[in-house]
Amino acid sequence: MTGPTVQTPNVACLRPPAPAAALSRGHVAIQDVEIIFRNGRNETQALAPVTLDLEPGTFTALIGPSGCGKSTLMNAIAGFVFPSAGRIDVNGVPVKGPDPEVGVIFQQYALFPWFTALGNVKFALKRFGLARDELERRAREALAETGLAGQEMKYPGQLSGGMKQRVAIARTFSGAPKVLLMDEPFGALDAQTRISMHTLLMRVWQAHRATVLFITHDVDEALVLADRVYVMSRAPGRIIKTFDITHTRPRSAADFDMEQMRMRSDIHRLLRPPDE
């Protein structure tokens, strides 16, 4: 756990006090992980054996058709479900259950409706055992970082979808996770809001640099955000192709070059159902 940091007050900066920034990246090793759900006598293979590594500080997108098991894989890394075979290590330690080192951002936001935006962020900061003033200051800072200054006392029910997800991003990053799992976080948002959320996410991520696994079925989203894109087949899901994207950020789907365009059509072709 990091101790309280001494910082010059009144310095406007987006970067939070993070002396351990270089250390706060997680390495995720997924080895032959297979997940089978049993329901009575029925067995469903939710995830075919998968092996992949998430390098510290990288942004990986996982794209695939609905029901291919991409969310199941994410739930296993988060510690919500357990693999039937294989192992998952985060920084060399096997996943035994939910852990604050592994942050999760849900499509349904999962904000606590009985807390204000500020209260939701404070919930994540509680584990650091900060003094009351420091807790308040850091929570406000986190909300300001996601563009929510002035909205601190609003309840989730009073916020739009985009603003809710901003609160969720502020909340999750406040917990200083080394790995960040995002399960179609912008899937419920309109196209315009989604683009501004991409810009926001890139800004916050570049300040904190957690290792990100981002699940989506939006090809452009994957190409705009990720260093690497894994494409999964339909159920039971396997990883069928890997794309490395080295283009400088910030990127925009409106300004894709020939290489990005080619990757886009390749991915669309891979995702197309066989009968079309």
Partner: protein, 259 residues
């Protein structure tokens, strides 16, 4: 301050409509009494009921009756509600107690309060204890049932979010599980308040010497239907006022928008 169109329609809804309803009912009641079709002894007209209420007020029994009845309802409610919340939490959140207690509690649910009167008298005599027992039993079952359901259906995503954010099990319980179940618990408590008043009359069948329920029994012995009607109307008014207050309080407690 000028009334806007919205305020006027709200005024009509909250004051005018009930007023219309009461006026119509009173008119039908009076007409029935005046027509001579029904015996005045069995079905007294509104004005006789009113003078019966005034008579009881002048006799000095009305206020102490209301006080003792409300006191019984409040104490019975407090005992039943705390036990109900406590047990609901335990059966809603732990598999062991759920398996152990659920079938038993399900068996208790259809037993009406009045059926407990003989047991209450044998166990607690004709003192206040038997009244508290009958009321708290009724309240307990309703509050337990609702709390249990609320605890049982806490959305899994809140638990996942809480654990991923590093909350301890105690903090998760106090700041996630309880608020998530709060709407159910509060509606159980609201039902409990209504049931406390409903079971009051049954409770006062266990040999009371005061209270609204007792006064109803006494009126029966003298065939004073006018007094009975006055007491019934009084029960209705107390119940409606209490429910209004509880509704306000519960809205303040569960103030957030449900997901």
């Amino acid at each position: 301050m000028a009334l806007s169109g919205h305020n006027i329609s709200e005024f009509v809804l909250t004051v005018f409509r009930p007023l219309v309803s009461f006026t119509i009912v009173l008119a039908i009641w009076s007409a029935a009494a005046l027509s001579g079709v029904v015996s005045e002894t069995l079905f007294p007209p509104p004005w006789t009921v009113w003078s019966a209420a005034v008579e009881m007020w002048n006799a000095g029994t009305l206020t102490p009756d209301i006080r003792i009845s409300v006191e019984r309802a409040v104490i019975g409610f407090a005992i039943g509600a705390s036990l109900g919340v406590l047990l609901g939490v335990v059966t809603g959140r732990t598999q062991f107690f759920r398996t152990l207690l659920n079938p038993f509690l399900t068996l208790l649910r259809p037993i009406p309060a009045i059926a407990l009167v003989p047991v209450a008298i044998v166990w607690f005599g004709i003192g206040e204890g038997s009244k508290y027992f009958v009321i708290s039993y009724t309240v307990f079952l309703a509050v337990w049932f609702n709390t249990h359901h609320g605890m049982d259906f806490v959305p899994e995503i809140y638990i996942r979010a809480s654990r991923s954010l590093g909350a301890s099990r105690l903090r998760e319980f106090l700041t996630v599980v309880v608020p998530a179940a709060a709407p159910h618990i509060v509606s159980g408590l609201r039902l409990g308040v209504a049931l406390a008043l409903l079971s009051l009359v049954a409770a006062e069948l266990t040999g009371a010497s005061s209270g609204i329920g007792y006064r109803l029994q006494e009126a029966r012995q003298y065939i004073r239907t006018d007094r009975m009607f006055a007491l019934l109307v009084l029960l209705g008014i107390i119940g409606a006022l209490v429910d209004l207050a509880v509704h306000r309080i519960s809205r303040a407690l569960v103030h957030w928008e449900q997901a």
